[in-house]
Symmetry: none
DNA sequence: TATGAATGAGACTTCATTCAT
DNA sequence: GATGAATGAAGTCTCATTCAT
């Protein structure tokens, strides 16, 4: 094939850039990250980045889409093996918290920058992120059908609630240097809350 | 005594700037917002902003602290009138979703920029935000004591879960121009989930 | 007369401003000095300075002219009492070095800023400074007539040489925090050099 | 190897910037000189200056150190060829006045801005300038040993006196547009004064 | 006279992007 | 494809000066 440079050919170089971007973006945030810094970490020249990505925005978006794409594929596969909706929800939740450890940088970037991007990239639709949410929807719909969750559950809201809870707890984990809690335990507690919460009818409160 | 400009005194002008900042920051995000734009919207000269705020960062942080301070005071008062822990949780949740409508811009700024700041402003501690979370903790602790929530509930995690759920749903509301759902209904559904979720015993493992 | 404020009337206030300017200019240099800082030190409002001086430049120039005017009048009187040209030269030199101690700030400002001003104030002619130099000229002319100095002495150059020597030594004194030498001794040595230098013919060097 | 721009490589471009800075600084003084003006004269973009210099201050200091370094090396070589201390003093003085013509801009900048910098740049030590003064010290020490200058001569003061005289006369030359005198003649007169002044015994006090 | 809040022009500096090599 | 020097647009912030009170 085409002759490859010493450190790997086009695709490998592209990936080096993407990984460098994750590292830098997660450390300093998108706006405080300099292209030249990413280039240095990736071991390429500044200009080289523009051979693989249209511009700085495109670098961020590619990162979102490609890396989240991998995450989505991965969790889809895991959930598919799952069992009933409750079991699959547990898998999803555990998997999310696991990512915190395995893909710390990526998660940090997504948590912080995806929100920004929604503001400053008028036209960007975070497709892969929506797919990620759709996995939750799927589980919830199934659960309703299976009778594991109550039939009047608002799926659109619930999936946001679940994701929000996971995301906020991940954020707290990432922000606190001291790592006050164990992701696995956190996953268990969140699962406990939603397992009961999505099933249960409103606790009868006498007068209420 | 106090010398007043044509459009109101110092405090009023400061507030005009703060409100303009909320508007601009919420529309474009902190980094894409220009001081000159905020000044124009506030009806002051660029330099005037620096009479009231040390720099652009300080403008954002003042906004966080002062406006969130008002929110915290407000919700504290409402919750204080509350009833049992469950009733107070409902008030808190409803109040949060109400803010979406009444203080849309502020909520948008906090949602998006607080994350950035938490992560990238080394020295900034979001005191008021933590107080907001503490209100939830208080309710949860009370609820455990009252027997409304299960006794082994992890308060630190739960309060993050609750806030995360609220926040994510608010974000989705704020980002979607079409306003797919009604905040009041959303509040009701979230309350339903957590009311059951925080009380419910662990789903019997036998049944799975 | 006109009613005076508690801290003295117009002239006194003007002088307070001038003295504050000397202090600040000597500490930070003209360009690094802020009008507001001078105002604060003088105990007046920023705007008040503009009642007494046209602008920042004018403040510096007034300072040059008025304060140097006092210096010129003073040294003229001292020199007038003088004796022969040699004695008067000694008085002049001693007086200059004395000023270093008595009027440190003023001297520092003049040394550093007068040079700048020549560059950036196109139209400014430092009249008082030239009068100061003229005092030296006068002494030198007299000395030639009296036979104390050699008749072919170039007065224009010599007066610059004398002033330059004094000025450079003053500068070194002012810059070194440790005050390595005594101004009186320095005056004596400079006098010794010029007393001999202005009188003596070129030392015959045999073959030269 | 080295990639070169259209008008010469890095070093050449750096030098163009430095020379442009000398020109602009000497005309208007440091604070009134704009980076964009220097860039325009150097034929580069504003930003390019920051590839070669850290900031505006650094540009000035680099100019001091590098250009004065050349001057120091040059005069050292000339003086080394010199003869006795008197002859070498004459060479030094002549050389200084020659610089006025050959390196007018540089001399103007150093004369005016070095004072500012000495006083207001806390951390800057003008190494090359001190080396320049050391050359005079060397000559004076030698002269004392050779018996050309009187043995009780205060070298520290005398070298400042000599430099001061040269500097002041240079300044007058540079400031007056009409060039009232010839640098070579001025050099001769200054030499005459100091040759006699540094040798001469204290004028007999009897005769006064 | 005196005040000092407000103004707004303008400078320095950064950094994404380009393009000659 | 790869490089990295060069570009230049644009933003933050400062501060002399004004003027309504």
């Amino acid at each position: 094939m085409a002759r490859r440079g010493p450190r790997g050919g086009g695709a490998a170089k592209r990936d080096r850039i993407l990984r460098a971007a994750i590292r830098i973006f997660s450390q300093k945030g998108y706006f405080n990250s300099k292209i030249s810094e990413i280039a240095r970490l990736a071991g390429v020249a500044d200009g080289t980045i523009y051979l693989y990505f249209k511009n700085k925005d495109d670098l961020l978006i590619s990162l979102f889409e490609e890396k989240m794409g991998e995450v989505v594929n991965d969790v889809r596969a895991r959930v598919a093996d799952g069992g009933d909706a409750l079991a699959r929800l547990e898998i999803f939740i555990r998997n999310h918290m696991d990512l915190l450890v395995k893909e710390a940088g990526l998660i940090e970037v997504i948590q912080v920058e995806l929100r920004q991007s929604n503001k400053f990239m008028k036209e960007y639709v975070p497709v892969k992120f929506l797919e990620y949410l759709d996995i939750i929807s799927g589980i919830l719909e199934d659960g309703k059908r299976e009778g594991v969750f109550r039939p009047d559950l608002n799926v659109t809201l619930s999936r946001r609630a679940i994701f929000g809870a996971l995301d906020e707890i991940s954020l707290a984990y990432v922000l606190s240097r001291k790592r006050k809690y164990d992701p696995a335990e956190a996953a268990a507690e969140i699962f406990r809350i939603f397992a009961a919460g999505l099933k249960g009818s409103v606790p009868s409160e006498g007068g209420r």
